[in-house]
């Protein structure tokens, strides 16, 4: 008969092997491919080369541009989602009568991203979406939302806020619900205003949860890809094309596999750059 220990190993082995095959191998392969100049359209291009990192990436304006869009998504989309999400979560927490709304609030994050993109695209098409009509009531002229770089970027942000703010709300609500009551009540007794209570009591107490949420939102900020794909395809003039969509175009449209792989490796490093300080600061506060 098997010992308990080997039983547990046996129970874990299939899942671990499957997951390793599906994640470790591809990532290693990705690193390997990034060191080639392999293009499926150029015969004999499967050669070891450092050119992607050494030259190509830094002289590639489209790459640099996509980095800018990436930072925009990471910073702007995440900040708006976090702020709005916290605000709504706080209000839902405070107005207990609105409890029933919690289930409705999570709908957007369950809606397929492709549908989110299509939906907002339709909303922004003149007449079809009706949005121009409402803006017109306030005297704002019709805007070709998806036709101009600035407004297209804003449109993607709106869709991302729609899709992902609920995630922040849900997590923040869970955090708020689990807060100990006594400090809050003490604050009220002291006559602190709502605003002061929020900033000096609630936010510090929620700090660990806020950090984790922020981390998750940053890591997934480029999960906006399907939405962008459906709304603008990355345009106009690449205005909404972040680094992962750029890698998609390079790798799967121009079949420039090696370069696309190196772009994705750069992407992984960017995520690390953004996430490491946050992780470190959260570790520091844990050890306090």
């Amino acid at each position: 008969m098997l010992s308990d220990k080997s039983t547990f190993r046996l129970l874990s082995a299939p899942a671990l092997l499957l997951l390793a095959a599906l994640t470790v191998i591809p990532i290693l392969l990705l690193f390997g491919l990034s060191l080639t100049s392999w293009s499926l359209l150029v015969p004999g291009s499967f050669k070891f080369s450092f050119v992607n990192y050494a030259e190509r990436m830094f002289s590639d304006e489209n790459f640099v541009h996509s980095l800018g869009v990436t930072f925009y998504y990471i910073i702007v989309n995440t900040l708006i989602q976090m702020t709005l999400g916290f605000l709504i979560a706080f209000l839902l927490f405070r107005y207990t009568k609105l409890r029933f709304l919690r289930a409705i609030m999570i709908i957007p994050m369950l809606v397929p991203p492709a549908v989110v993109g299509l939906m907002w695209k339709m909303m922004l098409i003149p007449n079809l979406g009706g949005l121009d009509y409402y803006l017109g009531l306030f005297g704002i002229p019709a805007i070709d939302w998806l036709g101009n770089p600035g407004t297209a970027l804003a449109a993607v942000t709106i869709a991302s806020v729609w899709e992902w703010t609920p995630f922040v709300i849900v997590v923040m609500l869970a955090g708020l619900d689990s807060l100990p009551r006594s400090p809050l009540e003490a604050a009220v007794m002291d006559g602190a205003s709502t605003l002061k209570t929020v900033f000096y009591v609630i936010i510090p107490m929620l700090r660990p949860i806020i950090i984790v949420t922020l981390l998750l939102r940053i890591i997934e900020s480029l999960a906006i890809l399907p939405v962008v794909f459906m709304m603008t395809g990355g345009g106009p003039a690449r205005a909404t094309e972040a680094i992962n969509l750029y890698a998609y175009h390079v790798g799967l449209e121009y079949l420039d596999i090696g370069y696309a792989a190196s772009i994705l490796v750069a992407f992984i490093f960017i995520l690390l750059i953004f996430c490491t300080p946050i992780i470190l600061s959260s570790l520091k506060s844990d050890s306090k």
Binding site: L41, V42, A237, R238
Partner: protein, 440 residues
């Protein structure tokens, strides 16, 4: 002597009879085809039932919008999943695909009397200028179904009201002056394609007409990009100016269907568009301008007249699992009778067969109503004047084309001056050509 002749004939006849194509041979099989939503393929969809009746073969035809179809064809050929037996190939891509060994050479199939009915195929009747676009190193990799070039469509009534002589549209200078004069009272002066994937198709008229070019010398395969020449910059700013300032809203992202709709709806004075779209532009149900249009060749510049020319064809994927039934289908689909039938029943006018161009019923149907100029004449004159080598037909062109289109877009948006934008496009083009080994 007579006996030997007779004997020879006798021995020959059963031979031919035995080798007639057996159309029911692949009964019950399936053929999968991918194409863009181009007139012929759209019309072909309605004919598939007839082929199934004839052969018992089911054809599944998947249609996608142009850029999506390009990308799907390319990734499918590269990955060779066997999802498609027949793929749509634009002339830009026939050489790169064939070079990679992704397409099946057709000659062996044509030479196989078990699989090919030479009369039905009528190969010599296909326009040679088109079949040549489907060749690589002498071998044939596709059958053309579509002859594309662009012409000018203008609203004769609006021109007359503004006191503009249609003859003025014959030069680039006159054309752009007319565009500016006509842009008033809620009517846009012009609509052309602004989308980065498609703008070079139009822009060629100005680029080459003004004496510029995309690369040094296409005929001699000198692909050194020349996007910063004074002519190229002038052409870019001219084109961007027309789209940014004298076109309908959203024109910077217009693809061909948007241009067609802009004209159909009656609020655009001039469009430059594919001659093959004449039918749709005059669609009796959707068009408000039928009967009001004049037709002319695209304008000429100091360096002549340069309507772009390309062909679309269908090819067999190299890994296609159902190659033989697919080949039967191609012969049937491109046969003279079906080509004519489709041309008469649908919006497909850009036929690839000489005999159909001369067919009286074809001429009668496609003598589109007009208020100036003759549509078929403008189309055919353009085909004759058109330049199949307006851009290098190499794998890197897609990338160069896109970044050139994006540079044009950034001028339209006012983000960059024409000089800056063309310098960027040039740098990108040089990078691509160097990387792919076309230039040092």
């Amino acid at each position: 002597m007579r006996k030997t002749v007779l004997a020879a004939l006798m021995s020959f006849m059963p031979f031919t009879a035995a080798h007639a194509v057996d159309w029911k041979r692949y009964e019950g099989q399936e053929v999968n085809m991918i194409c863009m939503t181009i007139t012929w393929c759209v019309a072909l969809e309605d004919q598939l039932a007839d082929f199934e009746d004839l052969t018992g073969i089911t054809v599944n035809l998947d249609l996608f919008e142009e850029s999506a179809a390009h990308q799907k064809v390319r990734t499918e050929l590269a990955s060779g999943s066997g999802a498609y037996d027949i793929v749509w190939v634009q002339a830009n891509w026939s050489i790169p695909y064939a070079k990679q060994g992704w397409l099946e050479p057709l000659q062996p199939l044509i030479d196989n009397p078990d699989l090919t009915d030479a009369d039905l195929l009528g190969f010599d009747d296909l326009m040679p200028s088109l079949t040549n676009l489907m060749r690589f190193e002498g071998a044939l990799y596709g059958l053309p179904f579509f002859a594309a070039t662009i012409i000018t469509y203008y609203r004769a009534d609006l021109l007359e009201a503004a006191g503009i002589d249609p003859a003025q549209l014959d030069t680039i200078e006159g054309f752009s002056a007319a565009v500016k004069a006509l842009n008033k009272d809620g009517v846009a002066g012009v609509a052309m394609r602004g989308h980065p994937d498609e703008s070079s198709w139009h822009q060629t008229v100005f680029m080459k007409g003004l004496g510029g070019g995309y690369v040094e010398d296409i005929k001699n395969e000198n692909y050194q990009p020349t996007l910063t020449s004074p002519e190229a910059i002038e052409a870019a700013s001219l084109y961007a100016d027309m789209i940014a300032n004298y076109s309908p809203d959203g024109a910077i992202n217009f693809k061909f269907s948007d241009v067609v709709v802009a004209m159909q709806q009656g609020n655009t004075a001039i469009i430059m568009e594919g001659a093959p779209l004449g039918g749709r532009i005059n669609d009796p149900e959707k068009s408000t301008v039928r009967g009001k249009l004049g037709y002319a060749m695209v304008p000429q510049g100091p360096n002549g007249r340069h309507p772009a020319f390309t062909g679309h064809g269908v090819a067999l994927a190299a890994d296609a699992p159902n190659q033989e039934p697919a080949w039967l289908f191609l012969q049937w689909a491109l046969s003279r009778d079906l080509t004519l039938k489709i041309a008469l029943e649908s919006n497909h006018v850009a036929v690839s067969r000489n005999s159909v161009w001369q067919d009286p019923t074809f001429i009668e149907k496609w003598n589109l109503p007009g208020a100036g100029g003759d549509f078929l004449k403008a189309f055919q004159d353009s085909l004759n004047a058109a330049d199949p080598d307006y851009r290098p037909r190499i794998s890197g062109w897609g990338e160069v084309n896109r970044s050139y289109g994006e540079a044009l877009q950034s001028i339209m948006l006012g983000d960059k001056s024409a000089e800056e934008a063309m310098a960027d496009a040039q740098a990108k083009a040089v990078e691509v050509m160097t990387r792919l080994g076309y230039i040092e």
